[in-house]
Symmetry: C2
Subunit: 268 residues, 2 copies
């Protein structure tokens, strides 16, 4: 069973005319998973006609504002929409401390529960599991504690002798924000689709190290070394207007490479 990822935002911290901050909607085994929730995430979901009632799990990579400032608007609005089903949020422990006073002030009359799951971004471990989908953290190297997320899909398949077994595939890995780090290779080895941030170009390399981000060439190198099936680039610096420059830098290293652009949906 194929899944999809829809890009809701793929800019970096400074919004531009064409990019909103980070957010993606992963659809795997007919379940929605929101990955990061920058400002404007709910508005973009509304514009795409996403049924937020089908969303139960939100994963936040780290607490820089461009990855989480859309949460309070989303959670408050779900309350107004009379949601009753719980919402699970997987994030660094500080998120609960930051959001709780806001939820008490703005969404105290909501009829649904918000369950925070504190994750340890330094460890590779399973943080979500159901019959068909598993989500693991991927420790990343950034200026604050950050992890990516690996979505594994398992399904029951029939063997030649008629018996059944479960086949597991690494469907999708989200790696943002991060410097170049080969430590993630064993975790994402063989992943079907890899989203790896490419904030900068090689020509801006010094800046890239300073703020602990990657270049397009580095993203492509990770994809190549991890034997990924496909690479999606994103989290573009506001300084690079022509996103094709990222593609031109990455493709000689890893050919099956595409640019994230808002509202695009990719098969995973």
């Amino acid at each position: 069973m194929k899944g999809t990822v829809t890009i809701l935002g793929c800019g970096s911290a400074k919004p531009t005319k064409t990019t909103s901050p980070s957010s993606q909607l992963v659809n795997l085994h007919d379940k929605y998973f929101l990955v990061d929730c920058g400002e404007g995430t709910l508005l973009t979901m509304q514009r795409l006609g996403v049924h937020t009632s089908r969303l139960y799990n939100i994963f936040i990579s780290h607490l820089h504002g461009d990855h989480c400032f859309g949460l309070i608007g989303l959670l408050t609005t779900l309350g107004m929409l009379k949601r009753t089903q719980p919402m699970h949020i997987y994030a660094h422990k500080d998120l609960e401390k930051l959001l709780t006073p806001l939820l008490e002030y703005h969404a105290n009359d909501r009829q649904y529960e918000i369950i925070f799951h504190a994750i340890n971004p330094r460890k590779n471990e399973v943080i979500y599991e159901d019959n068909n989908v598993t989500v693991e953290t991927i420790p990343l190297k950034h200026s604050v504690p950050t992890c990516g997320f690996l979505f594994k899909e398992s399904q029951r398949v029939q063997k030649e002798d008629g018996s059944f077994e479960r086949s597991v595939r690494k469907a999708y890995a989200y790696c943002s924000d991060t410097m170049y780090s080969e430590k993630i290779l064993p975790i994402i080895e063989g992943v079907g689709t890899l989203y790896h941030e490419s904030t900068f170009l090689e020509s801006m390399g010094a800046r890239s190290k300073e703020v602990q981000h990657s270049t397009a060439a580095q993203a492509a190198t990770i994809a190549q070394k991890a034997n990924a099936g496909k690479l999606i680039l994103g989290h573009y610096s506001a300084r690079v207007e022509d996103h094709n420059l990222f593609l031109q830098e990455a493709q000689p290293i890893f050919d099956n490479c595409v640019l994230a652009e808002e509202n695009l949906t990719f098969e995973i």
Copy 2:
């Protein structure tokens, strides 16, 4: 000297495919004033090419999320853009309590000062004054403490005898969110342009009272009784897809009436 108001968002609490939450940029005597700051305000300003470095004063009508959830993203980003000039925020006192922990976490390294001015939404008083522009609060009737803002413009004009005097005109009044309230009439009497919320249509009247909003007919009645020059309708309920229905309801009562739509700029 003419001014303008640019509509950055004119929806109500539930975002739709065509509307973002409330925000407006008033440009008077070549100064920017931001009125309300719903989620997505910064993104819309970026897309319109607004120079945020020219913004020094933000006025927040009340603390429902659709009027203030865009503040943290805006203020954090201004820090990243190396702003050094102070920013003044005029709002209910609770805003400072809510925003301070977020600013400490997300924007602690900013190089500019944020100065909160606690306003009393129950009183009509001057809260901002410079050589040419005065801003007064307009007490409104809503489910939480709320006030509108009256922008007065004064300029030096030459009289027939050659001497000079200051002429004051009520340029613009922002009245959102509010039930129908004739108490505001003396304050906004003779205003050049009135923005008055019209969340609902008369056919949805019961709902309008329950949640303390106005209908388009009520907005038009206020404009007519206040002898306003022009009326801008906005803060549309997500339940009304065709905004022309608001216009059709308002115009028989007050003819010089237009619909707020995002990215539109009106002279005031």
